[in-house]
C-alpha cells in the first residue's frame, strides 16, 4: 500500500502538531495548513487522500474550505473529517455539499482520530 497523504488544517498550533505526530507515527505523509486559504491552495496543489480540518479558522472556515474543494472537479473526491469545538452536527446535506464524512468533537482522542482516518480511507465511513 502506497503512503497516503493527509492534509491537516487548524489554526491552533498545538492541535496541528499533535495530530501530525499521531498520523506520521502511523505511517502517513502529513501536510499542515494554519488557515482555510492555505489549506485550499495546498489541497489543490497536492491532492491529498484525506483532509482533516478545524471548523473555525481564519480566512476561510473549515466548512467553506470543504465546500470549495467539493465544487472543484479536481478536488471533489477528497474526503474530509472535521474537528470542531463548536457543537456542530453533521447533516446529510453537509456530506453532499462538502464531502465531510465524519465530525469529531474537541476535545478529541488522537487514538480515536486515527481509527476514524483508517475507516474513512478504507471507505467504511461513506
Amino acid at each position: 500500500m502506497s503512503e497516503k497523504t493527509i492534509l491537516v488544517a487548524d489554526d491552533e498550533s498545538h492541535i496541528l502538531h499533535v495530530v501530525s505526530l499521531k498520523l506520521r507515527n502511523a505511517g502517513f505523509r502529513v501536510l499542515t495548513a494554519r488557515d482555510g486559504q492555505e489549506a485550499l491552495e495546498m489541497a489543490q496543489q497536492n491532492h491529498p487522500d484525506l483532509l482533516i480540518t478545524d471548523y473555525h479558522m481564519p480566512q476561510l472556515s473549515g466548512l467553506e474550505l470543504c465546500q470549495r474543494l467539493k465544487q472543484d472537479t479536481k478536488t471533489n473526491d477528497i474526503p474530509a473529517i472535521m474537528l470542531t469545538a463548536r457543537g456542530y452536527h453533521l447533516e446529510p446535506s453537509d456530506t453532499e455539499q462538502s464531502g465531510i464524512l465524519r465530525m469529531l468533537s474537541k476535545p478529541f482522542s488522537p487514538r480515536h482520530l486515527l481509527t476514524t482516518v483508517n475507516e474513512v480511507l478504507e471507505g467504511k465511513a461513506a
Binding site: H14, I15, K22, R86, G87, P107, S109, P110
Partner: protein
C-alpha cells in the same frame, strides 16, 4: 263657565227679540211697543254686564299665571267668582302636573349628569392606565375602527395619536399582519379567547423590532357580543438580544474551554500511548499541557472575576504595588505565546519605586488580558511594546501596550470594552469570549477608579492603556 255661556246666549236672544219689536213700536206703539222696548233694554244691559265680568275674571287669572311664570314658581291660581273656579282648578292641576314633570326631568338630568361624570372619570382613568403602559396598546370596536391607542402604539406604528381616533384600523396601521390579526380575533367571536403571536414590526427608522402581541376579544356585558379587540404589543427586541448574547456567550465560553482542553487531553493521551519517544518531545508535551492548563485557568478566572465584580461580591485587597513589577510578571507569562508567533516584545518601564495603590491580582489580570489580546491580534513577526510613564506633577502612572496588529475599525472602537462585544472584522484573527476587555475596564475603572483608553489605526495596530493614581 257653562253658566256664563248661557247668559251670553240668553242676552243675545233677548237683544234679537227686542230688535224684532222695533217695527211694532212704530206701528202699534200703544199695544205692544212699550213692553218690547223694555225687554230690549234689559237684554242689552245684561249682555254688557256679563261680558265685562268675564273679561275681568279672565284678566285676573291670566295675571296670576303670568306672575307665577315670572317668579318661576308654582303658585296656586284663585278664581274671584264661582264660575271661574273650575277653570282655576284646571289651571292649577295643569301647573302642578307640569311642575312634577319638570321636577322629575331635572332629577333625571342630575342623575344622568352624575352618571356621565362617573363614566368620564372612569374612561379618563382607563385611558390614563393605558397611556402609562410602556407596551403598545390598541383597542378597536366591532367595525375595526381604532377607538383607543397609547403613545407607545403611536410610536411603534408611527401614527399621530391626536388624529387617529375613530379611524379604520387599516388607515392608521401600516402593518398588514397586525391588521389581519385584529380582524381574525374579532371574527373569531370568542369572548374569552386570547391569542399570543410573535411578530416583527418595521419602525419609522427602518429598524425591525420583535413584539409579543397578545390579542383579546372584549365582549359586551349585556349581550355577550364581541364589542372589539384589545391588542397589547410587548417589545421583546432587547430580551431577544440579551438571550442571543447569552447563547453566544455560552457558545463562546464552551468553545474557549474546549480548545485548551482539547490540547491537554490529546497530549496526555499521546504520552500514555508512548507516541513521544524521546525526552525532548516529552518535555515539549508537558510544556504544552502546562501552558494550555494555564490558558484554561485564565479563562475561568476572567469569567469568574467579571461576574464577581459585576455582582459586587469581589473581595478587593488594595496595597501599595509597583505597576512595573506587575507588567514584568505578565510579560514573562505571555512571552511563550509571543515567541510562538515570532512577535518581538520590548519594554520601556519606569523604576519600580513608583507605587500605586492597587489589588495586585486584579491589576495583573488586567495587564495580562491586554498583553494576551496584543499577541492574539498581532500577525506573526509583529512587535509589542510595553511602557509605563509617571507624571509626578499630576500624581499619575500610565501603562501603554502597543502592538503592530490588525487594528480596530473606527466604528467598533467605542464598543470594544462592552461585555460580549467582538470586532466582527477581526473575529477570524482570534477566538474570544468578548469578556477580556470588559474585565479590564471593570478592574481599572470600577475597582481602581482609574481611566482606560484605546487608540487604534486599522491595519497598523492598537494601543491599549490605563492611568492610575500614584501612591503618596
Amino acid at each position: 263657565m257653562r253658566r256664563g255661556r248661557l247668559l251670553i246666549i240668553v242676552s243675545i236672544g233677548l237683544t234679537i227679540a227686542g230688535l224684532l219689536c222695533i217695527p211694532f213700536v212704530v206701528a202699534q206703539a200703544k199695544a205692544v211697543g212699550f213692553a218690547g222696548t223694555i225687554l230690549l233694554l234689559l237684554a242689552s244691559t245684561a249682555g254688557i254686564m256679563n261680558t265685562l265680568c268675564t273679561r275681568r275674571e279672565l284678566h285676573a287669572l291670566i295675571k296670576q299665571v303670568q306672575d307665577a311664570a315670572a317668579k318661576k314658581q308654582v303658585c296656586r291660581i284663585d278664581a274671584i267668582s264661582k264660575d271661574f273656579i273650575p277653570l282655576a282648578d284646571a289651571i292649577n292641576d295643569l301647573l302642578s302636573s307640569s311642575a312634577q314633570t319638570v321636577s322629575d326631568a331635572t332629577l333625571r338630568a342630575k342623575e344622568l349628569e352624575i352618571q356621565l361624570k362617573v363614566a368620564t372619570a372612569e374612561r379618563q382613568h382607563a385611558e390614563a392606565i393605558i397611556y402609562s403602559i410602556s407596551d403598545a396598546v390598541l383597542v378597536t370596536d366591532p367595525f375595526d375602527d381604532l377607538v383607543l391607542a397609547n403613545e407607545s402604539a403611536a410610536r411603534t406604528f408611527d401614527f399621530d395619536l391626536a388624529r387617529a381616533g375613530r379611524s379604520p384600523v387599516e388607515q392608521v396601521l401600516k402593518d398588514d399582519k397586525v391588521i389581519a390579526l385584529i380582524r381574525e380575533m374579532r371574527q373569531s367571536n370568542s369572548a374569552s379567547g386570547r391569542r399570543i403571536v410573535e411578530h416583527s414590526v418595521k419602525g419609522a427608522n427602518g429598524a425591525e423590532r420583535t413584539f409579543k402581541i397578545t390579542l383579546s376579544c372584549v365582549a359586551d356585558k349585556q349581550d355577550q357580543n364581541p364589542a372589539g379587540v384589545v391588542a397589547v404589543l410587548h417589545d421583546m427586541t432587547k430580551e431577544k438580544e440579551v438571550a442571543e448574547m447569552k447563547n453566544d456567550f455560552v457558545s463562546n465560553v464552551s468553545h474557549e474551554l474546549r480548545t485548551p482542553l482539547a490540547s491537554i487531553k490529546a497530549y496526555i493521551e499521546m504520552l500514555i500511548d508512548g507516541e513521544a519517544d524521546d525526552e525532548k518531545t516529552k518535555t515539549e508535551f508537558y510544556e504544552v499541557i502546562q501552558n494550555e492548563a494555564n490558558r484554561l485557568s485564565r479563562l475561568i478566572d476572567n469569567i469568574l472575576n467579571i461576574s464577581r465584580i459585576e455582582s459586587g461580591l469581589v473581595k478587593i485587597n488594595k496595597q501599595s504595588q509597583s505597576l512595573t513589577v506587575i507588567m514584568k510578571e505578565a510579560l514573562e507569562v505571555i512571552a511563550p505565546q509571543a515567541k510562538g508567533k515570532q512577535i518581538t516584545l520590548s519594554e520601556q518601564l519606569t523604576p519600580v519605586f513608583y507605587q500605586t495603590i492597587a489589588d495586585r491580582d486584579m491589576l495583573y489580570q488586567a495587564v495580562l488580558n491586554l498583553l494576551s489580546n496584543a499577541v492574539k491580534y498581532t500577525p506573526e513577526g509583529g512587535a509589542i511594546t510595553v511602557q509605563t510613564e509617571v507624571n509626578e506633577a499630576k500624581k499619575k502612572v500610565m501603562a501603554r501596550i502597543s502592538d503592530t496588529g490588525v487594528g480596530i475599525p473606527p466604528k467598533d472602537l467605542p464598543f470594544v470594552f462592552d461585555k460580549f462585544y467582538r470586532v466582527e472584522a477581526n473575529s477570524r484573527m482570534a477566538k474570544g469570549t468578548g469578556l477580556g476587555l470588559s474585565l479590564v475596564k471593570h478592574i481599572i475603572e470600577t475597582v481602581h477608579h482609574g481611566r482606560i483608553f484605546v487608540e487604534s489605526t486599522q491595519g497598523k495596530g492598537s494601543t491599549f492603556g490605563f492611568e492610575l493614581d500614584l501612591a503618596e
